[in-house]
Symmetry: C2
Amino acid sequence: MLSYTEENYLKAIYHLSSGGEHEVSTNSIAESLQTKAASVSDMLKKLSVKELVEYRRYKGVNISEEGKKEALKIIRKHRLWEVFLVNNLKFNWDEVHEVAEQLEHIKSPLLIKRLDEFLGYPSFDPHGDPIPDEYGVIKDKAKILLKDLEEGNEAIVVAVSDDNPAFLQYCSKLGIKIGTPLKAIDKLEFDNSMQLLLDGDQKINVSKEVSENIWVTD
Amino acid sequence: MLSYTEENYLKAIYHLSSGGEHEVSTNSIAESLQTKAASVSDMLKKLSVKELVEYRRYKGVNISEEGKKEALKIIRKHRLWEVFLVNNLKFNWDEVHEVAEQLEHIKSPLLIKRLDEFLGYPSFDPHGDPIPDEYGVIKDKAKILLKDLEEGNEAIVVAVSDDNPAFLQYCSKLGIKIGTPLKAIDKLEFDNSMQLLLDGDQKINVSKEVSENIWVTD
DNA sequence: ATATTTTTTTAGGTTAATCTAAATTTATAT
DNA sequence: ATATAAATTTAGATTAACCTAAAAAAATAT
């Protein structure tokens, strides 16, 4: 049985490795979990003994297949709960992350099976992130970062970063949500901001920070 | 902010004192939480410093007003989640306690407000226990233990103990649920068992253990 | 009333998860 | 190629929650 803390480490490692493809550094884990590198070193040894990661001192870690399976279980729970909070409990999309961070650790396979059923087997959470199925399989849409959308091209918003409430509130204010059609009018060199046409009528300017946290279909 | 453990202690003390009326002994807390008396002594000192209980060495504890408030918040959450699990996720009444023991510790006032709303402001959980309102006020029905129902008297099942799945499964098997009408036909001296007429047609015999875990309206 | 039993507390230790500071390894820059 | 910087690990503490064993207090039984 994994502890709350072990689950959080696995989730962080999974995300930092973009699903297990890359090696992850001790410092990046520490930063992501708001803790110290020394604490991470300790935990990596522990996860390594449990064969959830492959760890060589000073060389970073790779998540193992078993570790990935565990991470995906937690991510599945997190995203299903987010759907519940938004669809059924009328939470705004900026209010769900923190609560889902708690709910994702509830241990009950039956609960998740029934919640999934209750929600109608959703494929995406309120921020456009794909929900792994019960076997951990993710069926995601092809997407690119808004900042990489070329000038003149049109696209549709399919996902946004989920962990910064202020960012999500700002998106709402701008009128950006999942499904919003937009066009890249102009990209400004000096500050890397972008001019966008939203919904075919509204012209807005978004900073680099914003365009790096929104994904669109090409 | 209370820890998971502190919350469990407060809840146990509240229940053992039947809502703050009685003094609670160290040993009874230890037994109820499946831990050792030494651990309880430590925790009581801690809760006492936080003024959640009034504690005098060797004299047991009384829960304070503040402690009672916290306990009721947790009990409210526990019971609301049980309603959700049974009404919406189709859990059986014997499957909800363990999961609710986890869910009750989720910290989000908005979540509970919205859950309550979503559920239609229920007053009782699936085992007939009253759900404290947002101010901690409990409106319970008058009820007596089935074992105290006098021979010849009729009554209706209004509550059952919630924490033993095997007991709840047995009740289901016997046909005992909330709302079941019954009549005390006979009380047997030698083993303290009772003969009951269920739903006006079915004759069953229940042990002392069973009749001490069912409440009825007199 | 005193001895015995029971209950409770204290003393001292363990484990998981954290930390700081120092040591070590790896990476980078001249 | 070697010095410096950066990243990482180790060493050693700390805290919360637990434990066992011994001591102390309270309850009980003769």
